[in-house]
């Protein structure tokens, strides 16, 4: 210390000491109120399938960081080999890691005890952009509190993506006229039922171009089975946690599935999430249930296939039309050292303009959680053929709802139904020749184990 400083310390009075203490105590409040000058922030994003997706995100993050004087470290963690889930589990156990994490589907519930509530951000976003769909609420609202913000990055629908010419020639299904690339409800769309889906699958299978629908245990298989079950109102476990697998509705859906599985490929039970894509791209399949990623790869590797693809809504069943929906969420860990900055960044990234910008960069793959954002131009502009993904997001005239397999079972049970692939395994057992009674009995035994 210099002499004047020592002198100043020596002159410290009780009043001055109180002032200094009050100022010191107020200092952190300045940081809490705003992300500006808020130091460091680390965020883990999902590593996008479309390479341009990461670059667009990084650009937006850099711009926010520069504007708010925050040093942001953005990491892009792949979901290949479920590395993102492993990272989340490790950070949860170690109580350290990124400040902001990207939580896929069930991970918000799995880590609820360590995630900071984010109601304030959600309130501002929903006030501005309207409500999010019920799947987001089911997955990210725990005990009445929002724990994470549904994001568009990586969030996807998994409706049918079919070959226009094959469906028309082999099954008499003109998907372009049933679901044109404009806001128009057609009478033919009402006839797009699960029975029609089966007939088309049967006709295409006979022609050597089967519907490449998986019956494995990975998400594409689970999401397909989940939407089929929901269309028949078949719940394995109800919202109160009661096992309801021995019901007429479950029997009804299994009766339908018993015929459907016979026209699916022999190796459907060993499909992973890439098998269906490969089947479409290689020109061996008439239809898959997938986001436009398969079409995007086909555009590069098999342009003639891509130019023949059309994405459209799911068929309707006795209980309605439901589309598989797989959302991602952004949440702030409770152990984060910079929660305020984390929340501010999330809020900034979920504004309409950056969301649309990112969506455009990834050719419309990312679906925003807010229904008011489902009118981006990208879905009507990308090609070939023009309008191919116009009906990818749910539009009002589709009369469809988003759905995730196992909803509305309590999430701690649903996550096991989902990740253990209970529903597609039931279908796989039907394919292997087991009776409906055997399948129901097996599922009942499994579900008892999940409800511990």
């Amino acid at each position: 210390m210099t002499a004047p400083e020592l002198q100043a310390v020596g002159k410290m009075t009780r009043r001055r000491a109180l002032k200094v203490a009050a100022a010191s105590a107020a200092l952190p409040l300045v940081h809490i109120r705003s992300g500006r000058a808020a130091g460091k922030l680390s965020i883990a994003f999902w590593d996008h399938w479309v390479p341009a997706g990461n670059a667009a995100m990084q650009k937006q993050v850099d711009a926010w960081a520069a504007k708010n004087h925050v040093e942001v470290q953005a990491d892009f963690i792949t979901s290949n080999g479920q590395k993102n889930i492993l990272t989340i589990a490790a950070e949860h156990q170690a109580r350290t890691g990124h400040d902001v994490q990207t939580f896929p589907t069930w991970e918000v519930h799995n880590n609820a005890d360590m995630i900071e509530p984010i109601d304030d951000v959600m309130k501002r976003l929903t006030d501005k952009y309207g409500q999010v769909n019920q799947v987001c609420e089911y997955l990210a609202k725990v005990n009445g509190k929002w724990l994470a913000v549904p994001t568009s990055s990586g969030t996807q629908y998994k409706g049918p993506c079919g070959r226009i010419s094959v469906l028309k020639e082999k099954a008499g299904l003109d998907v372009v006229s049933i679901y044109p690339a404009r806001d128009e409800h057609t009478a033919a769309s009402d006839a797009w039922t699960w029975a029609a889906h089966y007939k088309a699958a049967e006709a295409c299978a006979k022609a050597g171009m089967p519907f490449a629908i998986g019956l494995g245990q990975t998400t594409d298989s689970v999401d397909f089975a989940g939407t089929l079950f929901r269309a028949y109102g078949a719940e394995l476990v109800d919202k109160d946690g009661n096992i309801t697998v021995k019901s007429d509705k479950v029997r009804a859906v299994l009766e339908h599935a018993q015929t459907l599985v016979k026209v699916l490929p022999d190796d459907a039970v060993s499909y992973d999430d890439a098998s269906n894509n490969r089947a479409l791209i290689s020109g061996k399949s008439a239809l898959i249930w997938n986001p436009p990623s398969a079409w995007a790869v086909a555009k590069r590797d098999a342009p003639q296939v891509a130019a023949d693809c059309w994405t459209f809504p799911a068929p309707t069943g006795p209980e309605g039309r439901f589309l598989p929906y797989l959302p991602y969420f952004w949440g702030v860990w409770s152990f984060s050292q910079n929660k305020t900055a984390g929340k501010e960044l999330i809020e900034a990234l979920m504004q309409r303009e950056p969301v649309e910008q990112r969506c455009t960069e990834v050719s419309g793959y990312d679906v925003p959680p807010f229904t008011t954002m489902l009118d981006f131009k990208v879905w009507s502009e990308v090609e070939p053929p023009k309008g191919t993904v116009y009906n990818y997001p749910i539009r009002p005239f589709h009369k469809a709802s988003a759905h995730i397999a196992a909803m509305p079972a309590p999430p701690e049970i649903a996550v096991q139904i989902y990740n253990r692939g209970t529903m597609p395994t039931m279908l796989a057992k039907l394919k292997s020749g087991q009776s409906i009674d055997q399948v129901v009995s097996w599922a009942s035994d499994e579900l008892e184990g999940f409800a511990r």
């Binding site: 494995g216 990975t218 190796d267 039970v269 060993s270 490969r278 253990r420 692939g421 395994t425 035994d445």
Partner: protein
């Protein structure tokens, strides 16, 4: 002191210090101390990355699902009642035992064939046959998976050339089990081969000569000379491989992820599915520790037998 044996305190102290210093110097100069100090980094690594996680896993396996209460062996009891877990036990045993037996038999045959190849050629063949063991397992399993793939299966392409229909390699339970075991055997056989080859080379030639003088034929030489001399190495190799195969994750995870219909799950893949994917870490930990006491028990007896035989040979 009055008896004259007393020594002033400032005289005895330096002597004690000198003695202690000498003891410390002797301790530091011992070969065992040097050995211990050289091993210390490894011991610390093992403590941090093996012993601590193992005890932590045991602790986790005794918690409830939300990890808020101690449930003792409740998770193990719960698992044993589940039909799927019973299937996992069966498959793990089938996978490990069949793989190890096949690896041991094929490795033994290959080692003998190799042993009879002369000079330089043996080195070439030995190098070639070690390739499966050297390639990172995840990478080679991905190649196998591509060959079994539903759309682009290389095996099916070959079958189709002969007019044979596609085989859903990973789509039917028993076929998928066969595929996982086949890949494990392909990967692990070179390890057995190299160990057995080393053992074969250490069998004294005089024993065979003596057996030949006694009129022993090839089979008799195998059973009464080769096998008894290789017993220790066979026991250790089988034990080591059994432990590693029971803990296998990569092959099943990459090839089938436990499917179809849970018919290829082994302990590790099932633990990953219930522990990491489904958020039930205590149950996953219990599942992964299930074979620990059995394998530890087996290891104790096998290693005791090895030690006993070594002493007999030395005597």
């Amino acid at each position: 002191m009055a008896d004259g044996t007393s020594v002033p305190i400032d005289v005895i102290a330096p002597a004690r210090v000198r003695a202690r210093r000498n003891t410390m110097q002797r301790f530091a100069q011992r070969r065992s101390t040097t050995g211990f100090l050289l091993c210390l980094p490894l011991i610390l690594l093992i403590a941090a990355f093996v012993i601590y996680p193992a005890f932590y896993a045991i602790y986790l396996s005794m918690l409830n699902k939300k990890m808020t209460a101690f449930v003792g062996l409740g998770n193990f009891q719960f698992l044993l009642k589940r039909h799927t877990f019973q299937l996992v036990i069966f498959q793990s045993c089938l996978f490990a035992v069949t793989s190890v037996v096949l690896k041991a038999v094929i490795g033994f045959i290959l080692a003998h064939l190799m042993h009879n190849i002369p000079g330089k050629n043996q080195r070439i063949w030995r190098g070639l046959l070690l390739v499966p063991w050297v390639i990172p397992l995840a990478l080679s399993t991905l190649t196998w998976w591509w060959m079994f793939d539903p759309s682009y299966s290389a095996f099916n392409w070959v079958l189709n050339q002969f007019g044979i229909a596609n085989v859903p390699w990973l789509g039917v339970g028993w076929t998928a089990r066969f595929c996982t075991i086949a890949v494990n055997v392909w990967y692990g056989t070179p390890f057995f081969m190299i160990m057995y080859l080393a053992a074969l080379k250490s069998v004294p030639e005089q024993l065979y000569e003596a057996a030949a003088i006694d009129g022993a034929n090839t089979i008799q030489k195998l059973f009464f000379v080769t096998l008894p001399m290789m017993r220790n190495i066979i026991a250790i190799t089988v034990l080591f491989s059994l432990i590693v195969t029971f803990a296998d994750f990569d092959i099943v995870r990459i090839l089938t992820a436990g499917g179809p219909q849970d018919m290829t799950h082994v302990f590790a893949t099932y633990a990953f599915q219930i522990g990491i994917q489904s958020g039930d870490i205590p149950l996953g930990a219990a599942d992964s520790l299930f074979m620990f006491p059995i394998l530890a028990f087996a290891a104790f007896f096998v290693l005791r037998g090895v030690t006993r035989r070594t002493k007999e040979i030395a005597a």
